[in-house]
């Protein structure tokens, strides 16, 4: 059909334009030039010979991976009449809600700035720069006075905003009717039901082997684990991004996980990338930002207090401080409903040539932000690689967990999915919790916003994040949250207050993620 052809050519044009700016393009060009020396490249059939050369040497695979990466990450080209805001978020009332939430955050940051009389950004004097460079690998030993700083917002503040989200065109009557949502989220987004989830997560079914279940000590490894590891090694040898993504849906062996995630996220550690990280490090040393103190405070409050992650405190500073200086992150605001905060150089208010984004990457960290990085420290030990992986995970997934949008993986949809699953499949539990004033979302929200980091044991968390990468969606977080409630349903039916319900669900560190998910999706009798 003509429509599909023109859509396809639009997609191709968009991908080509994006890839032309990447280092892969210049590498391919260099390889093509170098290949002209080879005897098998003939002038008459130059195009085909070079294409054949790329296929044999693995460059075509790299290009394939890059194209697959683009298709996964970026939304399809929008309708030509649609303005750029429409690509960020199609629903007008959600854009407005995100705008007013951002305004609140900016006001909070500005008031912190004026109250404490600390500038938003400050150029470090040479002595301080030298000192920081010496201490770069042990910033955790620094004990600055952070008592006056407070986090800009915490997940529970964000939850209140989501609870008050309303569609002005929706019948929000006061009296209870079939149209009222019994949970906290009151917007009618489309969420999947269990039949659709079963189809979507078909690789998690009871008849398919999983790491996290079929690799336990009671199961002989010949049944599943050995074969799975062998396939994983083959996938890595082929360097195929799409195959790796399909493979980790059944879990990734611990030894292969770091490389598989690198392949799926299409990270290549070229010298340019290491240089880029060093440049960010220089930026950190030159300028001191108010946001740095917020990062320090967050790490001290969350990761440093965690039994699993306190050893990685120094890595967290090295990654997060550089992350704030990285302007390439600004690119993701094209498809993120949020917008980066703007400011002007002092004395040049209103002049567009002196407009800058603050922080340079446009992302203001909130309480618990450092927990997105902490689990990755188990996999990657080299700071520049760790940094690249975290940045890619953020611009693909984590940004959706703290911005208001109608995307199926956005936090609003995840909350609604969680509440709908609980209401449909555990109606007694839902009703009981609601009656005692313990709306289930109030307990599970913090798990989902942090992608369960800091709540599950690390090996279980990494198995969960395997599936996030494999399915390219965060919906599994909502399903796991509902599965946890289903698991502790008997205890929860006996509680009589929100505090008691929180106590029942306080400790998730002993839970095994994959059996819970499998039982909830495929073995619950409804």
């Amino acid at each position: 059909m003509l429509q599909e052809e023109s859509d396809l050519s639009l997609v191709i044009a968009q991908i080509v334009q994006k890839l032309q700016g990447s280092s892969l393009y210049s590498q391919l060009e260099r390889q093509a030039w170098a290949s002209l020396q080879r005897p098998e490249i003939k002038l008459e059939s130059l195009k085909e010979d070079i294409k054949e050369f790329f296929k044999i040497t693995g460059w075509e695979k790299k290009l394939q991976n890059a194209v697959y990466n683009e298709l996964n990450m970026f939304p399809l080209p929008a309708h030509p009449a649609a303005p750029p805001e429409h690509l960020k978020e199609p629903l007008v009332y959600m854009r407005k809600a995100q705008g007013s939430w951002e305004k609140r955050i900016l006001k909070s940051l500005n008031s912190m700035c004026t109250e404490l009389s600390i500038p938003l950004a400050r150029k470090r004097p040479a002595v301080e720069q030298k000192e920081l460079l010496n201490k770069w690998n042990e910033m955790g030993t620094d004990e600055p006075d952070l008592s006056l700083f407070r986090p800009v917002y915490a997940p529970k503040d964000f939850l209140e905003v989501l609870i008050n989200l309303r569609n002005p065109n929706y019948e929000n009557g006061d009296s209870l009717s079939f149209r009222t949502h019994l949970g906290l989220i009151q917007v009618p987004l489309k969420v999947k039901g269990i039949p659709e989830l079963k189809e979507f997560f078909v690789e998690l079914s009871l008849t398919t082997g999983q790491l996290g279940i079929d690799d336990s000590t009671q199961v002989p490894p010949e049944l599943f684990e050995n074969e799975h590891v062998r396939i994983g090694q083959k996938v890595l040898a082929e360097q195929d991004s799409a195959a790796a993504q399909q493979y980790v849906r059944q879990g990734s062996p611990t030894a292969l996980r770091a490389e598989l995630w690198t392949l799926i996220l299409n990270i290549s550690s070229q010298p340019e990338d290491i240089l880029y990280y060093e440049q960010l490090k220089t930026n950190v040393i030159q300028h001191d930002l108010l946001v740095d103190s917020l990062i320090y405070k967050d790490v001290k409050l969350t990761a440093s207090n965690d039994d699993y992650y306190f050893v990685f405190e120094d890595y967290l500073y090295q990654v997060l401080l550089c992350f704030s200086r990285d302007t390439s992150v600004l690119g993701h605001f094209a498809y993120n409903s949020a917008s980066p905060p703007k400011s002007y150089i002092r004395g040049k208010l209103g002049l567009e040539e002196y407009a800058v984004f603050y922080p340079p990457n446009g992302v203001i960290p909130f309480h618990g932000f450092s927990m997105y990085v902490a689990p990755l420290c188990f996999l990657y030990h080299e700071p520049s690689k760790l940094y690249q992986i975290f940045r890619e995970m953020y611009v693909r997934f984590f940004f959706r967990l703290h911005s208001i949008s109608s995307h199926p993986s956005g936090i609003v949809s995840l909350c609604l999915l969680f509440e709908t699953l609980l209401q449909t499949y555990l109606p007694q539990l839902f009703y009981h919790l609601r009656e005692i004033g313990a709306q289930p979302l109030r307990i599970s929200f913090k798990w989902m916003v942090r992608a369960f980091s800091g709540y599950l044991a690390t090996d279980q968390l990494l198995l969960l994040w395997d599936r996030i990468l494999g399915y390219n969606s965060l919906e599994i977080l909502a399903v796991l949250a509902a599965a946890v409630f289903a698991f502790r349903a008997v205890n929860l039916m006996e509680v009589t207050s929100l505090a008691a319900a929180e106590a029942v669900l306080a400790d998730l560190s002993t839970l095994k993620v994959m059996p819970l998910l499998q039982i909830f999706l495929f073995a619950t009798v409804t």
Binding site: A81, H86, K190
Partner: protein, 213 residues
């Protein structure tokens, strides 16, 4: 292919409802929008574009110009086109939609009037409509520009002005300038969207407070 927007007059929406609009409890589920083209002759419709606002299904009827004395009849050209896969949820509720003539059931050769029938069966929404409606017809096949007289009828014989002493040949200069211009055009065309990575302005990052706009 080029297309030209056709100025249209969109009449107000008319709700179709059984019973008295004022006294009945429910909201109308069917709206009709008439589109006329007062200043344009019957044209061939190329594309209809609009922004949806919570309409679930769209039907379009068209009245075409007939040469004979028979009165023009309404013909359905699009039947129950689904804009929202689930009328109770937000999917597709505020999307931009394009309908081309290849999707229409009948020939759209000489359109005089259009009637859009909007349906929204779900009682959850307070109102529904389509916005920013634009109709396009086929643009002219080739640009019909008229050349200035001196270009289409050049002077047959012209002596070049005598070269001044010591100055380079003007035709050589003009060919070099043309090559430079071609190079700049190539550079401009291959513009990449990668950023440079600087977040400060000339080394300075001393900021005011954050702006709210």
């Amino acid at each position: 292919m080029s297309r030209v927007s056709v100025p249209c007059h969109v009449k107000g929406t008319v709700a179709l409802q059984v019973g008295d609009v004022r006294t009945s409890q429910g909201r109308p589920g069917v709206l009709v929008i008439d589109v006329t083209f007062p200043s344009v002759a019957p044209f061939e419709l190329q594309e209809i574009m609009f922004k949806n606002y919570y309409t679930a299904f769209l039907s379009i009827r068209v009245r075409q110009h007939t040469s004979a004395h028979t009165p023009a009849e309404w013909v359905t050209c699009l039947r129950d086109y689904c804009l929202m896969p689930d009328p109770h949820s937000e999917e597709g509720a505020q999307e931009y939609v394009s309908l081309t003539k290849s999707q229409m059931l009948c020939d759209m050769a000489s359109v005089t009037e259009l009637r859009l029938i909007l349906r929204q069966p779900s009682p959850l929404w307070l109102s529904f409509t389509v916005e920013e409606l634009q109709i396009y017809q086929q643009g002219p096949k080739s640009p019909s520009m008229t050349f200035p007289k001196w270009l289409s009828h050049p002077v047959p014989f012209e002596q070049p002005a005598p070269l001044l002493e010591g100055l380079p040949d003007p035709s050589k200069i003009s060919s070099e300038v043309q090559q430079m211009w071609a190079l700049t055009e190539i550079v401009r065309a291959s513009h990449t969207s990668t950023r440079i990575g600087r977040f400060d302005v000339d080394g300075c990052y001393d900021l005011n407070l954050l702006s709210y706009t």
